[in-house]
């Protein structure tokens, strides 16, 4: 068993339960023990940094400090937003701004030490497994399945924070999907914003962006879409009946769920019933077609 720090964030304990479930199921098979950061506090998401720089930094630094105290140098933050907030705070600590120094002191740590804690996202974690490891669990190869890999914004941008090398035409998720036997389609909207947190405040933006993303995935011949962000999932799954009313449903899965399907994990274990756009029968039909 390898131990890895785990920052689930609020979404994975609420609306994105299935992401947490499927991640835990996949981690167990990869012999990774997810060690939740004790008493972690919300990262503040978009709203904190949108209106209060100090609060945003302090919230994220608090998580880094708690990880450090628990002896966790690497922290998996499966939510792209949480990942972005933690990684941004690490950048500020590295920059050693006076805010960083002062907050570290106030939290009872030192900026350079806190800066050693590294937040990683789902893709970075998964691609760390050598060839053969993801593959050996596959019992239902996804041969012929056409998958649109959707990154959205914060897994990649800005590269100064995420460390991503290929930002405009990324291939990391495509590589993982290929290891399951599926075929990643080439399409134009992989890194376009889904409308983020505007679902409640200005839904027209989410519907407009969702429509464009859905349309591009369909045009590229995708059977389904995979992603690694609860916000993107909610916008593209829950809102799909509005921006693609009466059209062919495009199931939207967390990458961990697609991995689980290839590994033959049960629908319960993967939380597939929590979706608005049903995964079945589309998934089996697409596999049969392929």
């Amino acid at each position: 068993m390898t131990a890895l720090g785990y920052y689930p964030g609020c979404s994975l304990s609420g609306a994105a339960r299935e992401y947490d479930l499927s991640l835990r199921a996949v981690a167990a098979r990869l012999e990774t023990e997810l060690r939740e950061i004790p008493d972690w506090v919300c990262c503040g998401a978009t709203s904190a940094h949108a209106i209060d720089h100090n609060a945003a930094f302090c919230l994220a630094a608090d998580a880094l400090l708690k990880a450090h105290r628990a002896g966790l140098q690497q922290v998996l933050a499966p939510c792209a937003m949480c990942f972005s907030r933690l990684a941004t705070a690490t950048q500020e600590l590295r920059r050693n701004s006076s805010l960083a120094r002062q907050v570290a002191l106030s939290l009872g740590g030192e900026a350079p030490r806190l800066a050693q804690v590294q937040a990683i996202n789902l893709l970075t974690w998964l691609e760390g497994f050598p060839a053969g490891v993801l593959e050996k669990h596959v019992v239902r190869p996804l041969k012929g399945l056409k998958v649109a890999c959707y990154y959205g914004c914060l897994l990649l941008r800005p590269p100064r924070v995420t460390g991503a090398v290929q930002v405009e035409a990324p291939r990391k998720m495509e590589a993982i999907v290929a290891r399951l036997g599926a075929q990643a389609v080439r399409w134009s909207m992989a890194t376009e914003c889904c409308g983020a947190g505007f679902s409640l405040t200005d839904k027209t933006v989410v519907l407009r962006q969702g429509r464009r993303i859905y349309g591009a995935a369909r045009a590229a011949g995708a059977d389904l879409m995979v992603l690694a962000c609860p916000m993107c999932h909610s916008n593209l799954d829950m809102r799909q009946s509005e921006f693609a009313a009466g059209e062919a449903p495009l199931p939207v899965l967390y990458l961990t769920q697609l991995i689980g399907l290839a590994w033959g994990l049960s629908r319960e274990e993967l939380g597939l019933r929590g979706h608005f756009v049903p995964v079945e029968p589309e998934f089996s039909a697409a596999l049969a077609r392929g």
Partner: protein
């Protein structure tokens, strides 16, 4: 909500942005790349593009010897709905050939607009602002966000009761909403850190 930082209103916005982001809007050469890739820079959304916002900030700095003019440019940036309509998608910051953190500048503009009581008054900007404020207040109070109470409180304050009325039950059925607040975390340590951080001015990059 944020207590004012000492003297922040006296500094030009470009300076506050440099402190917060470690990058300078003065390096912008108006190529328009940020605006070109911005998902919100389109009819019905942003009226002033991110590129033009950068120019306003430069003009404020350029007119340092003429405070009345400088102030006028700053106000135009601060009162614009643009920062509220910004999704924080980071496309601009990623693509700027001059290394300007435009998305980070939008953060500073929102914060300063609130502190100086200049934030855009239109309904949409107000909705977005209220949501951010309620979200942050809740994160700091309870340490965890749960969707249902957050949504209900937002709707209560902004009066959008009918929008998405059917979604609540559908989310409940899928286990995506919980009726009770069941999560919380101790926020005393983080609240103290925020408090301490406000006592001294933010230092340079």
């Amino acid at each position: 909500m944020p207590t004012p930082k000492p003297n922040s209103a006296a500094l030009p916005l470009a300076e506050l942005i440099a402190q917060a982001t470690g990058t300078s809007v003065l390096h912008c050469y108006q190529c328009g790349r940020c605006a070109a890739g911005c998902p919100q820079n389109q009819p019905g959304a942003m009226e002033i593009s991110p590129t033009r916002v950068m120019r306003l900030l430069q003009l404020e700095a350029a007119f340092a010897d003429d405070p009345a003019r400088a102030n006028e440019f700053a106000r135009r940036a601060l009162q614009s709905p643009t920062p509220w309509l910004c999704l924080g998608c980071q496309a601009c910051t990623t693509r700027c050939p001059q290394g300007v953190d435009i998305a980070g500048a939008m953060d500073v503009l929102r914060e300063q607009a609130l502190q100086r009581d200049l934030a855009a008054k239109d309904r949409r900007s107000g909705d977005i602002r209220t949501f951010h404020q309620q979200f942050l207040a809740k994160a700091l109070r309870r340490g965890r966000i749960e969707e249902l109470p957050l949504i209900l409180r937002y709707k209560l304050v902004r009066g959008h009761w009918r929008q998405d009325a059917a979604l609540g039950p559908a989310m409940l059925r899928r286990g995506k909403l919980k009726l009770k607040n069941s999560h919380s975390a101790d926020t005393r340590q983080v609240l103290k850190a925020i408090d301490d951080s406000r006592r001294s001015p933010r230092g340079g990059p």
